[in-house]
Symmetry: C2
Subunit: 322 residues, 2 copies
C-alpha cells in the first residue's frame, strides 16, 4: 500500500497528451498494490488507472502482463484493459518508470469473503484459466517449487527458527517432501498466481472484476486453485472452512471440471502453495529495510495454514465432492 513514485501534474498532463483521453481533471495516488505506484486519473473522458512499475517488476516481463490483460479482456474476462496511446502502444514511460494506463473497474474487495463470494471466485478463476488459452507469450513461474529452496536459503534456517521455534525445521522437512512429491504433467496454462481477496472486486455478491496480474505466469492450473483455497477459505483462527472450500471448488468445476489427477493432487498443491507464501513472507519479514513504507505480511499465518495441509489427505478434506 504505497505510492513510491511521485508524479507532478505537469508530467502527467504531458504523458496523457499522447493518449486520446481528453484533458486531465484530477489524479490521486492510491493505496493499492505493494509492488507498483498507482494513480486514479480523472480526465474529461472518464476515470482510468495509471500504474508505474517499480524496480521489483522486470521490464522484460511487461509485454507478458500487458498482453495477457488484453488477451483476457478481449475474451470477456472482467479485468483491466490496457489503453493504447496514439502510436498504438500500451506501454509508455513516465517519471523514469515504465507506465501503463488501464481501464478502471468498479467494485470492492471483501475483507471477510462468504461462501457465496468463494463460489463466484471459483467460477471466475476457471473463466480466467479458459480465457488464457491461446495466449502466445509465456512466463516461467519463478515462485513455483524449484524457486522455494533458494528463497529459504535467503531467509536462513537459523533466522527462521528465531521467528518461531520449529519453524525452520518444518520448512526444511516440507521442502524435502515437496521436492519429492510435487506433481508433474497436470494440465497447465496461464495462472494468476496471486488471486487473494484484495485482487477480486465485488458489487454485492456479484464478482465485478479481477485485478493485479503482475504475478501471472505459466504453471499448473490446479496450483492456482490451491493458492485460492489458501487465500479464501481459512478463518482468522487458521481453521479451514470446508463450506467455503466446497463453494470455491463447485464454482470452479461448474466452468472447468478438474481431472482425476488434479483432484488427487489438491492436498499436495495446497501444501506447496502455503509454503510458497510462507517463504516469500519470511524473506520480506526478515529483510524489512530501515524506514520501510510497507509493513510485511505475517509469515506465521501461512505456517498455521501449512500445518493444516500436512494433516489433509484427499481432496475431500477441501470440500470436493463432500
Amino acid at each position: 500500500m504505497a505510492v513510491y513514485t511521485d508524479v507532478s501534474a505537469e508530467q502527467l498532463a504531458e504523458f496523457l497528451s499522447g493518449y486520446s483521453l481528453g484533458e486531465l481533471l484530477s489524479y490521486k495516488g492510491i493505496a493499492e498494490g505493494v509492488e507498483n505506484s498507482n494513480y486514479l486519473v480523472h480526465t474529461t473522458s472518464g476515470y482510468v488507472l495509471l500504474t508505474l512499475f517499480e524496480k521489483r517488476v522486470k521490464a522484460s516481463d511487461l509485454p507478458f502482463f500487458i498482453g495477457l490483460m488484453e488477451h483476457l479482456a478481449t475474451r470477456g474476462l472482467n479485468c483491466p484493459l490496457p489503453v493504447k496511446n496514439r502510436s498504438g502502444e500500451a506501454l509508455g514511460t513516465l517519471a523514469g518508470r515504465p507506465a501503463v494506463v488501464v481501464t478502471f473497474l468498479e467494485g470492492m474487495s471483501m475483507r471477510r469473503p462468504t461462501a457465496a463470494h468463494c463460489e463466484a471466485l471459483g467460477e471466475a478463476l476457471a473463466q480466467l484459466h479458459n480465457a488464457g488459452e491461446g495466449f502466445s507469450i509465456t512466463r516461467v513461474n519463478a515462485l513455483s517449487m524449484p524457486g522455494w529452496r533458494p528463497l529459504y536459503d535467503m531467509a536462513g534456517h537459523e533466522r527462521a527458527n528465531t521467528l518461531r521455534a520449529g519453524l525452520g525445521d518444518t520448512v526444511a522437512f516440507e521442502l524435502d517432501h515437496l521436492e519429492k512429491e510435487w506433481p508433474r504433467n497436470l494440465p497447465a496454462g496461464v495462472i494468476h498466481a496471486d488471486l487473494f481477496p484484495d485482487n477480486v472486486f465485488f458489487l454485492g455478491d456479484k464478482l465485478s472484476g479481477l485485478i493485479d496480474f503482475y504475478f501471472a505466469c505459466n504453471d499448473m492450473l490446479a496450483y492456482d486453485v490451491a493458492i485460492c483455497l489458501n487465500a479464501w477459505c481459512f478463518e482468522t483462527d487458521a481453521s479451514f472452512n470446508v463450506t467455503k472450500g466446497r463453494a470455491l471448488l463447485q464454482g470452479y468445476q461448474s466452468v472447468r471440471p478438474l481431472s482425476a489427477a488434479e483432484q488427487e493432487a489438491l492436498p499436495i498443491l495446497a501444501r506447496g502453495a502455503a509454503l510458497r507464501f510462507l517463504l516469500t513472507r519470511l524473506v520480506d519479514w526478515l529483510n524489512v529495510p530501515p524506514g520501510a513504507l510497507v509493513r510485511p505480511h505475517d509469515p506465521l499465518e501461512y505456517f498455521r495454514k501449512l500445518r493444516h495441509h500436512q494433516r489433509a489427505t484427499t481432496a475431500r478434506d477441501y470440500g470436493l465432492g463432500a
Copy 2:
C-alpha cells in the same frame, strides 16, 4: 501521504447507508493529507471524499473545521462542502474515528507554481479571508508566536545544533527577536494557516479549489499572506522570486487591500512564518518513530528561508509596490 485507518467495504457500506448518496461502487485509500486518512468514494450518485480524523486532530476542533467549510462554501469559496447524513449531521463515526464526507473537488496541485498561479492564489486567499467574516466559532492558533518557544524546547537546543551547526543558535536568537517585535492589533479573522501548493487545486492556470482546512484558526490575516509568501515564492535553491511575490500580493490586494500597518509588518510576519514551519518540521524530524510510514519534511528548507527574511527590511523586498 498515508492511509492510517483501514476501512472494509462492509463498514463503509453500512456507514454510507446513513446518507442519501446511493449505492457504494468503489473506494480507494488516497495518498493525501499527512494528518488524516482519506478515501475517494464512488457511489451511484458520484464521487465524494471521506476523511477519518486520526489522533493528532482534536475532536473538540471538529465543529470548527466542519462549520468553517460549510460557512466558506456557502459564501461561494471553492472548498469542500461537508455532506450531511439523513439526521442532518456532517460529523459521523467510522472504524472508531470521527469521520466526515465532503464534496470532491477537481483540479491538481502545482509542483512548481508560476507567477500566474501565485496571483490566483493571492486572490483566493483574500476571498477566503473575506468569506470567513461572520463565522461564529473561533479556534486559537496554537502554532502562532506564543507556541514557538514550547516547540523549540521540545526539539531541544543541542539536538537542533546537531542537525546543522548554528541552527539552534539562530532559532534562539529569532525567538527572542520575534517575541519582542511580533505585531499586535493587525486585522484578524479566520486564516487557513497551511495554504501550501499541495492544498490548492488548479485546472490549467485557473484556481479550482482550496482544501485541507485542518490547521485553520483565528489569527492576523496578514500572517496567512506571510505563510503563502514562504510556501509559494521561493525557488528550490531557496532564492526568493520577487516576481512571484509581487504577483501573489497584487492578487491578494485586488480583493482585499492590505492596510499600511499590515504592509509594514510583512517582513516580520514572514520571518515568524518561516520559524513556525522550521520548528514544527524540526520536532517531526527529531521525533520520527521507528517504522514511521511518513517521511518528515526537511527543516533546513525553512532555515534557508528564515535566513532570507532576516535580510529583508520592507514589504518592497517581497514585491509590494515594486
